[in-house]
């Protein structure tokens, strides 16, 4: 079965993926920062028991991964896939994640909150992704006593997420706006509108590979659909602005030269670091979406970016690799994918 990131979708030229998370907690059990180990195991068991009730449907077929029984590389690979948080990698005891076969639905357990229900999809598909997350949430809600207050909404460990407890995000590729130096100003303006835009790979002002995560920041006083509508409307403006700028940019010979040089390097390199790959893949992605590079789907390149992440690469190889072996394996995977 294809993973969610291997599929093609509308608006994927700029918005590579959509994800929606719901933070949920159980009544009568301390939040993760104050949970005992027995509490952690009990919550894991409760969720496992509830999901197994849905045997005939997909929730019953979720794979359970107990973080304490897996390798560090696998745990980091899960964090690179954003199925668990970075914080969960550093303390794995009594923590876990339940994942659907295509990895589009997951429940991270005992991270920042008891449950982090997550739904993902390629492209920009807020309605579809929200529907899947909402359905799983409703299923769990019928069987588990979620901590909720009529005025405060869903009760979360971090009070910033009170209300809907929902964070919706779009993974945006903004090479043209980055080239023009506009992303810092956009991020600053968005933060005043209750949205946040930050680099996907690191916190530098010019994020690696021009990858950004655009999310809602307001969870209180706005319904889920109102928050999604705000996000969608701002994302729409950023996407059309990026497209306009791409058209201007990719018409320039110097930009085309960079795109084809980077394409050549990716098709021929024998050793490549993740950072260099991200930078060159960004130019190649721009070339693909501008129609300059033909015969390669954007989803194929996005899958490569996903698979080329250091821990994911090591975990998928099934071996302990040195840094050079990693670079060698990454270069081979990229060559085979592009040639």
């Amino acid at each position: 079965m294809n993973k969610w990131y291997q599929t093609t979708a509308d608006n994927a030229d700029v918005s590579a993926s959509t994800s929606i998370c719901f933070a949920r907690n159980l009544v009568g059990i301390p939040f993760p920062s104050r949970m005992s180990m027995a509490d952690r195991r009990s919550v894991l068991q409760k969720i496992q028991a509830v999901l197994s009730q849905d045997r005939n449907f997909r929730y019953g077929r979720f794979t359970q991964v107990d973080l304490e029984s897996i390798s560090k590389a696998q745990a980091i690979a899960l964090a690179e896939s954003e199925l668990i948080s970075a914080e969960m990698v550093t303390d794995t005891q009594g923590r876990g994640v339940f994942v659907s076969e295509d990895e589009s639905l997951s429940i991270a357990v005992n991270g920042e909150d008891h449950l982090l229900i997550q739904s993902k999809s390629a492209g920009m598909q807020l309605e579809k992704v929200f529907g899947a997350a909402d359905e799983l949430d409703t299923f769990l809600d019928r069987l588990l006593p979620f901590a909720f207050d009529a005025q405060l909404g869903y009760l979360t460990q971090n009070p910033f997420y009170l209300g809907t407890g929902m964070i919706a995000s779009l993974q945006l590729h903004l090479p043209a706006l980055t080239e023009l130096g506009s992303t810092g100003r956009i991020a600053h303006n968005l933060s005043r509108l209750g949205l946040t835009m930050r680099g996907t790979f690191g916190t530098e002002p010019n994020p690696k590979g021009a990858w950004f995560r655009l999310s809602n920041q307001v969870t209180m006083g706005l319904s889920e659909r109102e928050a999604l509508s705000n996000l969608s409307s701002m994302a729409g403006q950023i996407i059309s602005h990026e497209r306009e700028m791409r058209e201007t940019l990719t018409g320039r010979l110097s930009v085309q030269d960079t795109i084809f040089r980077d394409f050549g390097i990716l098709k021929n390199a024998r050793l490549i670091s993740f950072e260099e790959f991200l930078k060159r893949a960004s130019a190649v992605r721009l070339g693909i979406t501008a129609g300059l590079i033909k015969g390669i789907a954007v989803s194929k390149l996005d899958t490569m970016i996903y698979k080329a992440q250091p821990a994911t690469l090591i975990f998928d190889s099934g071996e302990a690799l040195t840094e050079e072996e990693c670079c060698k394996l990454r270069a081979r995977m990229v060559r085979e994918g592009l040639n």
């Binding site: 809600d141 979360t156 910033f160 209300g163």
Partner: protein, 164 residues
């Protein structure tokens, strides 16, 4: 320590991330933390109250008089120190103390949207789900977790009534 994002201001919070296959911690200043969407209660309280921690941690306070949450045992000072709420019950136990901070974060608005226990999507309720809940109710009573038991009992009643 300087903020590792802008390199200009003093860092006030640390956030964890995976970089180049390793878990790392970043130190961020208040402005970058806000712009990057890393929200933290403690940080927000400190900025709002000009770092006057003494207001929250008076010297010589009698430990016996400190109120603790009956569910998780957290005191309000614990919440302030960690920036994290101890459990759902803490929101009730420390409602008065938390109110000004919650107003500062969220304004005076209240929740709109999905309601727990309500289920916005129509679903046919399989009998198996109710039997699991009955089992959970028995477990909750056995372990003397009466608050959870009461919540489960109410939910079962509600669902049984809906199903009739």
């Amino acid at each position: 320590m300087l903020c590792e994002s802008c390199g200009k201001n003093t860092a006030v919070i640390r956030v964890k991330a995976i970089v180049n296959g390793e878990p790392v911690e970043y130190a961020l200043c208040s402005e970058c933390a806000h712009d990057l969407g890393y929200a933290n209660l403690l940080f927000d309280m400190l900025t709002g109250y000009d770092g006057t921690l003494n207001d929250f941690f008076p010297d010589g306070e009698d430990a016996a008089e400190v109120k603790h949450c009956p569910c998780c045992g957290a005191s309000f000072q614990d919440i302030l120190r960690s920036g994290k709420i101890g459990c759902a019950e803490c929101y009730h136990t420390f409602a008065d103390q938390l109110a000004p901070f919650l107003r500062k974060i969220h304004g005076s608005v209240s929740h709109r949207g999905k309601t727990a226990g309500g289920g916005d999507l129509p679903q046919v309720l399989p009998k198996a789900q109710l039997s699991v809940m009955h089992q959970q109710l028995r477990e909750a009573i056995q372990s003397e977790n009466f608050e959870q038991a009461a919540a489960l009992r109410d939910k079962i009643h509600e669902m049984e009534e809906d199903g009739q």
